[in-house]
Amino acid sequence: MYRYTEFDTEFVTERNAQFRAQVERRIDGSLTEDEFKPLRLMNGLYLQLHAYMLRVAIPYGTLDSRQMTALADIADRWDKGYGHFTTRQNIQYNWPLLRDVPDMLDALADVGMHAIQTSGNTIRNVTADHFAGAAADEIADPRPVAELIRQWSTDHPEFQFLPRKFKVAVTGSPNDRAVTKAHDIGLRMVERDGVAGFEVIVGGGLGRTPMIGKVLRDFLPREDLLPYLESIVSVYNLLGRRDNKYKARIKITVHENGLDDIRARVEERFALIRPQFSGVDQQLLAAIEADFAAPAFKSASLAPFEAAYSNDPIFRSWADTNLSDHRAPGYAIVSISLKAHGATPGDASSDQMRLMASLARDYGHDELRISHEQNVILPHVHRGDLPALHAALKDAGLATANIGLISDIIACPGMDYCALATARSIPIAQEIATRFDELKLEHDVGPLKIKISGCINACGHHHVGHIGILGLDRAGVENYQITLGGDGTQDAAIGERAGPGFSADEIIPAIERLVLAYLDLRTEPSETFLQTYRRLGLSPFKSALYPAEAKADAA
């Protein structure tokens, strides 16, 4: 794993010392809130509905047991004993006191973590496939490149005041688990004639104007990556709109100017700056790649796994749902669900964090990942160790067998925490999960992604949910709009709005009608919700959602 260099450590230490002094000056009244706000945002500190919120970057979602344990200790010492993992592979603390934040940042720095550029109009935490370095379907581990981008973008002097925030995602696999087409820049590793490179996707994003990213370059040689990224961001920095916050993201810049125009500008800029990249970045990348060398995978007996799989139906159900194929023989990727039925999606208690850390140490080559779907991944576990691992998870309430199923819901914090929210998300997620657990239907329903956002900014990715739910304020009442058919994978699609919204009381029965309709409509159990939707379109689902209107139309 990448460890901070002396340079990283010095930079973070210096920034923390600066911020400590800024907090002191805010508290004694030397700084107004208008002066302090941009400073705190540069360090990941928001003021939310009921409290401050500290957003900590987990670069490309990767951390080790020491870091996870530190996150737990911070939650206990300065927060309320839990943390919230987000769709951007960050962790958020919902209850820090202003005076404590500098100490929290120092505690993070002790384990090579920080909150820099988790907010503001900068290049944000670079996200990656949460199965990176482990997935059977991967061309190469995307994390060395993500780390290179992190180093390049952190405190990049040209890009500290962009027109708007800027998000980059990288995947090394053709099966896109990093939602690259919904990022300002998405990078997909590809090979051409045996040469490794990237497909560069630009201008994707969700929010109030959802757009699927467009291919700016279908093949970019690896060594051209940084100068090409710098060209894109610098074209955007000049061309992006600063007159209207809602038109400031690069997706609008691309939309308004056209892809060809943007491409021509980027290529022109690239020709100019490419010679300035002397190859130092490639030397750095080679060193970083060594840090990400695969662990020494072991050979061991699979007998414990096979015995548990045949004899223990609870283990079998979990193994069938929460494991993914690993590239090393005998190994599996374990997804630990932070979506126990009725719990808050993405929340982990400090005890759970400590347990996951110790399991990573004992069984997982000391690696953990945070997925954008708000779960924790142990990327490298030998199958022979799975029964012991499962038993430990079960004792801690972490063995819910629901990965990819209807109760594995993404939900933003919504109006329970967020100052921008227009409605709550968390209780809707809790009620849907609880309801389908009561119905004992979720394994029968199969793969189905529900994603809930509590406002139009779409942190809950509702546009790319198979079923998306958007919470709005309609005349002073919470109202929930449904979109259908969204997809965040390599076949990315924006969901289609199904019709008028539902009240908080109506939304759970509406989702139930929708899912029961799917069970009737599918040709066979292996046809997923999304496949059925793609085959039949909106109409039959609309009839299920709005039975009164359907009856009136039929009459």
Binding site: E33, L47, H50, A51, L97, D416, P427
Partner: protein, 102 residues
């Protein structure tokens, strides 16, 4: 014709705690039902200016609509109801038993 002025309270976040606070006749409180209800527009504007000037005490002061009731003001909008109560998934913030007075 000017719209009729509806009753309001001055609310903000506490600089150090971050918690939602409300202006009283003499200071600030964490509980909405102890807030001072403002029924005169000019008075409300003045009280808001006074609040906003307390830069090392409060953040983001504004006027929120309330419905005066026997037990004190009640929130007019659901957002204010959540601000007054705290999150719905845990009994944290104002819902904790031993919240410190300001």
């Amino acid at each position: 014709m000017a719209r009729e002025f509806t009753p309001k309270v001055v609310t903000a976040n506490d600089l150090l705690l971050g918690d939602v606070i409300y202006q009283t006749a003499s200071g600030w409180t964490r509980e909405l039902d102890h807030a001072e209800v403002l029924t005169d527009e000019a008075d409300a504007d003045l009280r808001l200016i006074e609040a906003a000037q307390q830069i090392n005490r409060v953040v983001g002061a504004y006027l929120a609509d309330v419905v005066p009731q026997a037990g004190g003001p009640a929130p007019a909008h659901f957002r204010e109801a959540f601000r007054a109560r705290g999150p719905s998934n845990y009994r944290h913030g104002k819902q904790e038993d031993d919240i410190a007075p300001l």
